[in-house]
Symmetry: C2
Subunit: 317 residues, 2 copies
């Protein structure tokens, strides 16, 4: 399938998922105050949309045990949209009590990943979502859908686009306001992006699509280019490229927010993000995690951060 | 400038530059036998075009002091195209004597980078090329042109497209058969790629264009996507992402051959390259350099290298 001939959007919405997807797989567990310092740096750089945490069992994901405290602390900052993953009605109740703007319900498009992730069938996950949807009625809190392994499953391989479309329709029936396609282990490719975006625009034409890529195989931003060529306006990324994958040791995590923001800025696409601020936040994230993060712009500096010209020739071509 | 609406090519030519651009900036100097082991692994993976070395002063670039030996050793393998950089007529004589298929003449599009690199003005470099062109007459060895800092200069910043076009015309007048645009310190962006490709197609319509990107700011393959959308059929890359930049410490080097090959293969574009073989070569390169290389596919494995599905749920969304 060729790169599509459409015109890229003028404005792109970037949701920062570093505090959730970025941190849940990192060996270092940050204190709430450290997460807040990172969030404040991101807010100063223009970030307004955060997938801020996940209301899962603290035993399953200790790094996110402070979900309610984190939401409460960020609630003081005006103008933010805070979303949080919830795996079940109990998590949704906790998220509502904490004061999120939207809850994200997630299910994998492949049975084996869903079983590994939440220990139930895809159908059982979807049935559980109906109880969450009823909980949200009248609360003013939006429901968002996220489909993991939407571009491939690390256990099963290719995932039929119809499986993704079928789940998307269920989310639409539940009243979801957004749908995110998760490239959980970095298996998305430009042709798969095009195929899935076209299919979903047919299946759920009223549901805005968000693309959530991992850079596991180095082509995360190539997939963004394909998304832009198709006119997709919403992307998720993680500051510094925080995160990883428990099934692919050594692999990179989410696409990095500062690399994405750099690409979009250079393409003349408005994001509301400020690159120098993101680079500062990425450096803070690296310090907090105690390791170099995979993102590039934060290491190399912005495009026009000029070097000194010393006099020694190098003849390097 | 929007992503162009053209159809990507069905076939792409990838020139492996790891032995030249990749090694010249690495702190570890490989023995000729180690380079040959890497070259053999690459040949086994389908690589047929190598920018194999540079006939520069061994004092300036000790890592490439074995230029003649390396070319002589690879000459025994049929079906290869071996090119080498030459900075001056003396280098061209050495390259001719060694038996290369083409010599690559290089000049920067910005004065300060050219001064830093070869200690002369752009005009003085171009004048010197005429002597090399005369040397090559009747030799059967092709002349290729390479323009460094073609998308920006680390000392001067933006580089006018007219500077690139003017040099390109000089290369065309010299009888060059190919022209490579070097993104020396990773300053290329999709709009700059589109601008430069369009301009050069007007300025030198008969000169096939090669795009040579560095992944310094993480968007190397996004730039390839733009090149593909414009129908550009020739790219240069480095196995494992070998290489770096003396002006941007910690920055990534060339785009990685295996990540590029993975992207192209997944897009249904024929390269003649075999991904598993490239991954093996990249791992060998990492062992030889004694450090993890920045490429992703060689760490994460191919897309459908499936994981085992253990029973413990992770609830990671």
């Amino acid at each position: 399938m060729p790169v599509a001939p459409e015109v890229p959007p003028r404005r792109v919405h970037v949701t920062e998922v570093g505090l959730r997807d970025g941190l849940q797989n990192e060996p270092v567990v940050l204190a709430t105050e450290q997460k807040l310092a990172l969030a404040r740096a991101l807010i100063a750089a223009g970030v307004r949309e955060f997938e801020v945490t996940s209301f899962v069992s603290p035993r399953a994901v200790p790094a996110l045990a402070d979900a309610a405290e984190l939401v409460a602390a960020l609630r003081d900052t005006p103008g933010l949209h805070l979303s949080a993953l919830v795996p079940n009605p109990r998590g949704a109740e906790r998220a509502l009590a904490a004061g999120v703007d939207s809850v994200v319900l997630f299910v994998s498009a492949s049975e084996s990943h869903n079983a590994k992730n939440v220990n139930r069938s895809v159908e059982a996950s979807l049935a559980g979502f109906e109880r969450v949807a009823r909980l949200l009625e009248g609360s003013g809190v939006a429901l968002r859908g996220a489909i993991a392994t939407a571009f491939g499953c690390p256990f099963e391989g290719n995932v039929p686009v119809q499986a993704v479309g079928g789940i998307a329709r269920r989310f639409a029936e539940l009243g979801a306001t957004h749908l995110s396609l998760g490239d959980t282990t970095g298996m998305a490719t430009p042709p798969l992006v095009a195929e899935r975006v076209h299919h979903l625009r047919g299946a759920v034409p009223d549901l805005p699509l968000t693309l959530h890529f991992h850079n596991t195989r180095g082509i995360g931003l190539a997939n963004v280019m394909q998304g832009l060529a198709l006119g997709v306006e919403r992307y998720e990324s993680s500051i510094g490229g925080l995160g990883g994958c428990p099934f692919a040791p050594g692999a990179s995590g989410n696409i990095a927010s500062e690399d994405l923001a750099y690409l979009l800025e250079e393409m003349g696409i408005d994001t509301g993000l400020e690159l120098d601020g993101l680079i500062g936040a990425a450096r803070l994230a690296g310090e907090l995690m105690g390791r170099p993060l995979p993102a590039q712009v934060s290491r190399a500096g912005p495009r026009l951060a000029l070097a000194e010209c010393a006099a020694v020739p190098t003849a390097r071509g």
